[in-house]
């Protein structure tokens, strides 16, 4: 099971470490104030922020998880990209970014403060801070355990070294360093995994050969012959596709609620666009990110599908490690594929790509936590601004720096908790993932309906979250063995697959939140004047004029291009 690395593989990793730390070291002299450290001075070019935007999302859990999903669900996994990401990214760029960026808010919680009130900000800031630390701890744990099982590295050593490198470059260069490194990491991930895609496809005889080899495997499992290589074709009935969900569940649950909740409100992602140099650049950021996002399935999902063929061909000698219960660990598909096809040299590059994906995700978490903690919690509740601007700035810069250290230490702590009490961490992560859908409802209403009030938003956010929790407590996915998966109050309904339960949890959270917010808005009085809402609400903000830019270089032109490519891809793999 072990993968043996040679000196050249280690050399590549070490060179990579030197470069990421070097970028942080080079940027340290620009970190003169809190604004530079926590917001990158709002000076990042659109293409850099756009690649960082997608790189943060391409964390270790995404790469490992999506390859595993490719094996389990085939091309249906692309629903997480073509329907579950691109439309939301276009919406964020065209319709939400003008208000986010124009508001001059430094974070999503701060936007809530400007648009609504202090309590709405407080609720969101605290939930976000906790969720971010959990997420970074869990991905750190996943990486360290992978390195331990497959490379034979010591769990604690790989945990500390990878965390300390991320700490090193984010401490030195703040958000700028995280963003610039994410661009480097993006190219390392893509180029490092490229040989795997070509070799594995060549091995199974290309796309046509892959389809032929899959047919007997899928029919033996009771699915149509091309169930693993199509996306929408078998979504007429939940039972005829491996995902186990109908087309309307995919469309509404994934394509609308989950994806808009994630892409349009998650500060971790949106922060990259906030750092852009201008309003037009900020609107382009999600669109520039969407371009590579559409093609990432070919990099990580297709090799996962090929792994299914390899598993059924004993001559290939391909195996997946088993967990304590004797079930294959699908998340290890990617590293076992690297082992299968890559000789020393490019193997080091592939492992470095995994490390890079881990670091881009973790640095994203750390920098977002940093900003939310320093501005939305510390500056709002612990030590407010004084009259002395210079001293204040110095103070908040130091707080930002110290928070970086604490953020990383807390992540390490939560990684250890995950290694001891994995179930508890899974449970907490499931719970905190429920804040996105209500948050989207509240931000959306706030941006497009000037009447929406603070009291309504706060209650909508809270009740949406609580209802999601209640739904999770009352339903179970089929075959669940622990209460972590749901039904911890009572089990009133059983979903055929866990994903269906997740979709419905989000749909309920979103619906409750919308209904409550609209209802209470009609019953409460607006506390904010129209002047205060200027730039935050659609009807009170002047349209951006981009007459001087040719249409194809405007965000709208770019969005049309992205949309067309996405539709073409969906039709080809229908």
């Amino acid at each position: 099971m072990k993968v043996d690395l040679s000196w050249i593989d280690y050399l590549i990793m070490i060179i990579y470490f030197i470069f990421v730390l070097g970028i942080g070291w080079f940027l340290r002299k620009y970190m003169k104030n809190a604004n530079a450290f926590l917001e990158a001075g709002r000076s990042i070019p659109a293409w850099v922020a756009g690649l960082a935007f997608i790189s943060t999302n391409l964390g270790a859990l995404e790469v490992m998880g999506m390859t595993g999903s490719g094996l389990k669900y085939g091309m249906l996994t692309t629903h997480f990209y073509w329907i579950g990401a691109i439309p939301a990214m276009i919406f964020l760029a065209l319709f939400m970014m003008p208000f986010y960026y124009g508001s001059k808010a430094r974070s999503v919680p701060e936007f809530l403060k400007l648009r609504y009130d202090e309590k709405t900000r407080g609720l969101n800031a605290i939930l976000f801070a906790v969720m971010t630390i959990l997420a970074s701890g869990i991905s750190m744990y996943a990486l360290a355990i992978l390195m331990e099982k497959v490379l034979g590295w010591n769990f604690s050593i790989s945990l500390w070294i990878s965390a300390l490198i991320v700490l090193g470059y984010t401490y030195l260069g703040g958000l700028s360093s995280a963003i610039y490194n994410e661009v480097l990491q993006f190219f390392i991930i893509v180029i490092g995994l490229l040989p795997l895609v070509f070799l594995s496809l060549k091995d199974v005889g290309g796309w046509v050969g892959l389809k032929e080899s899959l047919a007997p495997i899928t029919t033996a499992n009771g699915f149509p012959a091309d169930a693993w290589t199509t996306t929408w074709k078998y979504t007429g009935e939940a039972t005829s596709n491996p995902l186990g969900i109908e087309w309307y569940g995919v469309l509404f649950g994934l394509g609308f609620v989950l994806s808009f909740g994630y892409w349009c409100t998650n500060f971790l992602i949106v922060q990259r666009a906030f750092a852009a140099e201008s309003s037009t650049a900020a609107r382009k950021v999600p669109l520039i990110g969407a371009l590579p996002k559409m093609f990432i399935p070919f990099l990580i999902i297709v090799p996962g599908i090929i792994a299914l063929v390899l598993l059924h061909d004993p001559a290939k000698g391909f195996v997946l490690p088993l967990d304590a219960g004797g079930k294959p660990i699908y998340d290890y598909t990617i590293i076992m594929l690297l082992k299968q096809y890559l000789p020393a040299g490019v193997l080091g590059l592939g492992i470095t790509a995994l490390l890079a994906s881990f670091m881009s995700g973790m640095a994203g978490n750390v920098s977002a936590f940093n900003t939310v903690w320093t501005y939305d919690i510390y500056q709002s509740y612990i030590r407010k601004r004084t009259d002395n601007e210079v001293a204040d700035d110095r103070h908040y810069l130091n707080v930002g720096r110290i928070t970086t250290i604490f953020g990383v230490l807390l992540s390490i702590a939560s990684a250890y908790i995950a290694s001891k009490f994995g179930n508890i961490m899974d449970f907490l992560q499931t719970i905190f993932s429920m804040i996105n859908a209500p948050l989207f409802a509240v931000i959306f209403l706030g941006m497009f309906w000037k009447r929406t009030t603070g009291h309504a938003a706060f209650t909508g956010l809270l009740l949406g979250f609580l209802m999601a929790l209640l739904h999770h407590g009352l339903t179970v996915p089929a075959g669940a063995t622990t209460l972590v998966k749901g039904g911890w109050i009572a089990s009133l309904h059983t979903y055929p697959v866990e994903m269906a339960q997740n979709f419905w949890t989000a749909i309920i959270a979103f619906t409750v939140s919308t209904v409550v917010t609209v209802g209470l808005t009609l019953m409460t009085r607006q506390q904010k004047t129209e002047k205060e809402l200027y730039g935050l609400v659609y009807s009170l903000t002047p349209r951006t004029i981009e007459e001087d830019i040719p249409w194809y270089r405007r965000p709208v032109g770019l969005a049309i291009g992205v949309g067309v490519i996405c539709v073409i891809l969906s039709v080809i793999f229908w």
Partner: protein, 66 residues
């Protein structure tokens, strides 16, 4: 502030040279390249990375001049 194309160009040029050389030195090692279906991926990827690295550096240089 910093042109990220410079470090990207540098690291891929270094990776490119290293891996191409490694590919040449291990050319006769057929057992090693059995994994990659008999293809010397090190030379191919090495050359590609070197080209990519140099293009990045060239772009960065061109911008500096302008």
């Amino acid at each position: 502030m910093v042109d990220i194309r410079i470090p990207i160009g540098l690291i891929f040029s270094i990776f490119g040279i290293l891996i191409t050389l490694f590919g040449f030195f291990t050319k006769s090692d057929q057992a090693m390249y059995q994994k990659s279906l008999g293809i010397n991926v090190n030379i191919i990827m090495g050359v590609l990375m070197l080209i990519f690295g140099l293009i990045m550096l060239w772009f960065a240089r061109r911008k500096k001049k302008a």
